[in-house]
Homo-oligomer: 325 residues x 4
């Protein structure tokens, strides 16, 4: 297919590696003699016509930087017919012939609707730290978030061990326990509470009791954020009632998990998907998300990527139980 | 002076580099043919007679590890005459002829009273991330905590910039703004709120307005923990009322600031003070804290170290104002 | 199967995550009521009967530490019939009923021969930074080595850019370009020279010329170690002759790539394979290596793991060419 | 004094924190309503008239980045009268009324001669990883280089310990042992060889023998680069002859020591000196270097800064001897 100009935007929550993906898209477009337009602030920028040409030298020295130079936002207006109409007007006005959207579930829903409404070819790149997207083994930013989380938890363990403290540590992942489960295993957490599994205070209390018997008074318990689990402060309070002689503390890792220099794995993943998404547009693909499965690039229709849920690996829960203490 | 056996303990909140100080004490004692007894959990261990001999090979591969292998605690009992009496009984029973205490203000107060009551030679090593101790340019752990803080703030800035957000970030330092002031300058914070300075919402609002005019919508504001400043959530709320169109977030760095691998500067400082404290005991010194001033080891009487307060550098506040935007 | 006692050893070059694997093996053995014996210095320790019982508390606070607490070595003696005979005597004397070997190709060859000679059930865990083992998507230590490499290369790029310099950087991987190819893509290297691909000075010179035309005078070229590629100093010299006005430097990353705190991905991988290897012994498996494929644990006969070679992903070379400049 | 326009350049080897200094200079100039011109590639850019205005927004998001956005170079031409004449012509043509030079010894020599020849007010900021400049306790970049060095050495120690190896590690510092001495103490090196101290193979061999007797076969020996010490490979060879059963390896840390994200301490130092240098120009100072002494900003005439040598702390050598083993 003959494409002369494409647009690229990042949408939803930012994640480390988005810049590496942008760089790959811009360079690949240039490689295939396609012009590339960077759209600011996600769909908002499309609606407000905030965009400018980006060339390969604009993305020099960018692959290792956190965040997104295109900036990102959530757009309520794009959820309306009127908002998308404005977006399409700018899309046409700027002579775009395809769009690459880096983001998560919500961003792909918008992309799917917009693409169908105006027959616009759109390719999605999964960029979110939560790893909860169907159609890819890994999302861009997930591996970095995991490593940021474990570095922080390692630090907290230093002080937990020195003080014989019990720490409840909240990590990101409202609807999905990927970060909690993997960071919990990687830091030797006593227990890991994730939204996918009904959590059980009795089991937690039993584990605390068990390691206490072994003479270990410091422990880390990892908890996914979100109301599903009742909140980390409540958990700490309930546990304190059961173990009044324990020194129990809470730490919420928070926004540090979204930033930072992307890991090697995230940079390579972002680069591969960036190249693949441009080549997909050129080859006439549309309405699909690009992802990685068993180390191969694959494509999944937006509808499937949105509707299906990437399931957490149940085996890992058992592994955590076996090696925690 | 002829000393045959000394004890070492860590007390109060832990800080990175305490292990490096322990290592230096143990190795220096061995170098001068003095036996060294490690006391667990601070004064608690002295009261409960939890101690054991430590030899140079016990501290192999330790200099770079966070926390304290001796563990630390706060002891209410040691504040009582009765508690200290028990401590002295164990001190005598174990044949100790001197004590090295790594900790902060509170620990030195205990050391001073105990030392005078029972005529026990005690040397203090300032170990706290807050840097708020008179008699030393730097406390062991402060430099590491600063670097932990700026790495976290750098990560948050990635996401702040990508989303055009205003972040209020709380760092440690209840009564002292060292961490806030230095980490704020080092991360280009728009404003820095510390307990030593009456803070001024009008000035903060003026700064936000000023950078807004320059087209910059993302900013970092660093706040020292503690009630003196009203709390970071209240600040965020008040600011949101004034700037309702801003996306304002809060992040509390918390306990990660106490852990982690000590920086080079903290390891060298801890090593120097560890060596100096043993040599001080041998040379007959007592009732003093060792510290570093203009790159020289000095000694300060406990009373002075406790009573006087290390003042924050007012020049730095002006520097922050000049280069923030 | 009813197994009462197993042995574990690390062999060959060390890699980050070996400790996490040891921890998982020890804890899993305990979970299934199997005794675990730690053998020092690989096969050497088996020959010299250097081993001792390890229990779950021995591996507390270990998951995040680089290196291997069991130590590792290469053993020439184990390659001889006589050496293996001595090893078997100690194996029997200590009542071992199975062995877990963490290492690479060479270690598995030894394991296979030894296991067949004396009918000893042995399970292998792939631990090497090179990732060149058939039967697993990732080897334990590879992800950490990659991240160590890119952090170092990022630092060198700072100075390369500031000085307009051309850097030849040698990374590990004598017979395999996994580290070079992935770290090269992740750091935006101008060219990547790996043993799997005939390298072409003309292509390299063409790339240098091309970016020069774009006004970029600093670049990074990544080279796999080893004689196959002629050596990084020779490459630099030849390039200097072609581009005499360039400031060309060489950096050899060297041994830092073997150490360091394992990444999340390496810790989780090591934990999974550690659990799987003990369960495999218990279930009667022998003479196989455990690995991960498409996120599932699989087993590969030693012979296949040794004979077949894990191939590098040719697509990645093309990706590097597209986005390098 | 009334100054309307100043120039800034970085010269000599780059060091982490130079960007933070540039940022502080630009922002401070703006604060005092002084225009700021960024000169590329050090004195070369002055000679070739490569310069452009820099405003506060140009240095957004810069404080944490390694290297120097102004680029740096060594200029042979500036050492000639003719070169400096051309530099002065451009200096005048661009309406500059003062110059800030970030660099080391060599850069300040050039600054002094140029300033005197053409009566140009110049202020120096010490930017070098070597810390070998008289008139300041710390140079910009030194603290970061130290931390880069110890992180690398920590990694190598992992593998040294796992393999029972003896490592000779070369760090930067041709004429000055600051990096070697401090990183050696911080990593528990068995011995530290620096140019300031006649080194003694007998002492080194004695230490190796001593720890061997204690059953420790792995050790780190830190060596400053440069011919004064005979070269790290020669050292390793001589040691191997003496201890033929040892597994001895060499690692040269090299250029990674110049790059990387500056530490908190370097960012604050660079910010303070950046502010001070602009204020110095405004207040009429010239021909001096700004530095930090006992936490106060001070000024030292270029001649003194160049002629005198900052001495290494001899006490530290003794400390290293006491706690090394």
């Amino acid at each position: 297919m003959n494409i002369g100009k494409i647009g690229i935007l990042t949408s939803g929550g930012d994640s480390p590696g988005m810049n590496a993906a942008i760089r790959a898209v811009v360079r690949t477009a240039s490689y295939y003699c396609v012009n590339c337009i960077g759209i600011s602030l996600g769909y908002k920028g499309l609606i407000n016509n905030e965009m400018r040409k980006v060339v390969p030298t604009d993305v020099n020295n960018l692959i290792h930087r956190g965040g997104t130079i295109l900036k990102t936002a959530r757009s309520e207006e794009f959820k309306t017919k009127f908002g998308r109409k404005k977006a399409n007007i700018n899309y046409k006005k700027n002579g775009l012939e395809g769009l690459i959207v880096i983001g998560g579930d919500g961003s792909f829903t918008g992309a799917m609707i917009f693409g169908q409404e105006y027959n616009i070819p759109i390719i999605g790149i999964p960029g979110t730290i939560d790893n909860d997207i169907y159609g890819t083994d890994f999302t861009v930013g997930y591996d970095t978030a995991l490593n940021t989380a474990i570095e922080a938890i390692d630090k907290i363990r230093d002080t937990a061990t020195s003080h014989n403290r019990l720490f409840f540590i909240e990590v990101m992942g409202k609807d999905s326990g990927f970060i909690a489960l993997n960071s919990g295993i990687a830091t030797g957490a006593l227990d890991i509470l994730i939204p996918e599994k009904k959590y059980n205070l009795d089991k937690l209390f039993y584990s605390i009791e068990k390691v206490k018997q072994k003479g270990k008074y410091s422990s880390i318990i990892i908890v996914s954020e979100g109301k599903k689990l009742g909140g980390v402060y409540d958990l700490a309070k309930t546990t304190k009632k059961k173990f009044p002689d324990y020194d129990i503390r809470v730490s919420i890792l928070g926004h540090i998990q979204r930033g930072g220099y992307p890991t090697c794995s995230d940079r390579v993943l972002a680069s591969r998907l960036g190249v693949a998404s441009v080549e997909a547009l050129i080859s006439g693909k549309k309405n699909v998300m690009t992802g990685i499965k068993a180390n191969k690039v694959i494509f999944t229709p937006f509808l499937k990527a949105i509707k299906k849920k990437r399931k957490i690996d149940i085996d890992l829960i058992k592994i955590s139980d076996i090696i925690a203490c």
